[in-house]
Amino acid sequence: MGWWTGSALTQEISDEALCQRVAARDEAAFDLLVGRYQGRAYRLAWSLLRDAEDARDVSQEAFLRVYRTAGSFRGDAKFSTWFYRILVNLCLDHQRRGSWWRRLLVRDDGAGDPEDAVLERQPAPVVDPGDTVGRAQVMTKLWAAVDRLSPQQRAAILLHVQEELPTSQIAAVLRCSEATVRVHLHRAVGVLRKTVRRD
């Protein structure tokens, strides 16, 4: 079966079953998995990296890893956990590799305040007719504060508020204990509360 060809695969097939088919080089199954996860993958990668091109590239790389290593998916965890683990690791690696020249660029631009650079990369706040301008500003500052969290804390917060993963699944994605995730979330929430109080 090739790409984009008609297939007997339906939406009812579980992610885990599709992954097994991908391991057997069923490209239609891979196509279906990509369709299910592409939006989430790109959005999470962008939230972690705050760069559309990087998010596009890294999320594609995550799918490529799935294609290459689907045979190693043992099925003792959910496919989504396995996929998020690949994606988050790629994002964290990407950040580690790129951080030094990003800092350099901020300095060279004369931006001075790293917070300004973070804010510039933010999209326009989500417009809610019921919100005041002040509330939108608070949200912008809040998300800027999220961007300044440590990589692990940020990943934990994003997986919780954006992907709505429970603590146990976040722990599986980040390969740490649930207690550690709770500490990450607690510290992150502490920082964010202070951000809101200062406003």
């Binding site: 799918f63 949200m139 146990s168």
Partner: protein, 158 residues
């Protein structure tokens, strides 16, 4: 400063609904009496709810192009070299066993046919070899040229 009497990290666990029932009950009991922790829980919940309700959307993407590029990357992905491809365990075990048997028994023994031919040739040359005084110590010769010279002498070359 963290007060040992306050649940601390369990407060966020309480907000995110990550506590076991017994611990959750303990925190709930504490919250009944602790204004500071109650406020921390309320603020934490407010922050997380606000974030969840206002997740910034990433820039729009051309999904058709995204998938076309991904397809190209998948097809361009280098195939593994034959020696790096996963081999079924039984086949790998069989090859390894055969190699081990060959290494122990095969390499130091020549095939029977070859040994027979060699013996025949040596037998034919036996009278010639008997003429050499040095033949008893032939195994000490490491210089192949010297051995070839002896061979030419035997064939009437000298």
């Amino acid at each position: 400063m963290t007060d040992a009497r306050h649940p601390d990290t369990a407060l966020t666990g309480y907000v995110t609904d990550a506590l076991a029932p017994a611990e959750r009950a303990q925190v709930a009991a504490h919250l009944d009496d602790c204004v500071d922790c109650r406020r921390a829980v309320e603020e934490g919940r407010a922050v997380l709810t606000a974030l969840a309700g206002h997740v910034p959307a990433p820039p729009e993407l051309d999904w058709g192009r995204y998938r076309a590029d991904l397809r190209a990357r998948v097809q361009a992905a280098p195939r593994r070299a034959w020696w790096a491809r996963p081999v079924p365990a039984m086949v790998a075990a069989g090859v390894a066993t055969a190699a081990l048997v060959l290494a122990i028994h095969g390499l130091d023994r020549r095939p029977t046919e070859l040994a027979a031919v060699e013996e025949t040739m040596l037998g034919a040359r036996l009278p010639l070899l008997q003429q050499y005084r040095v033949v008893e110590r032939l195994d000490l010769f490491e210089d192949l040229d010297a051995i070839r010279q002896l061979d030419r002498l035997g064939n009437g070359g000298g």
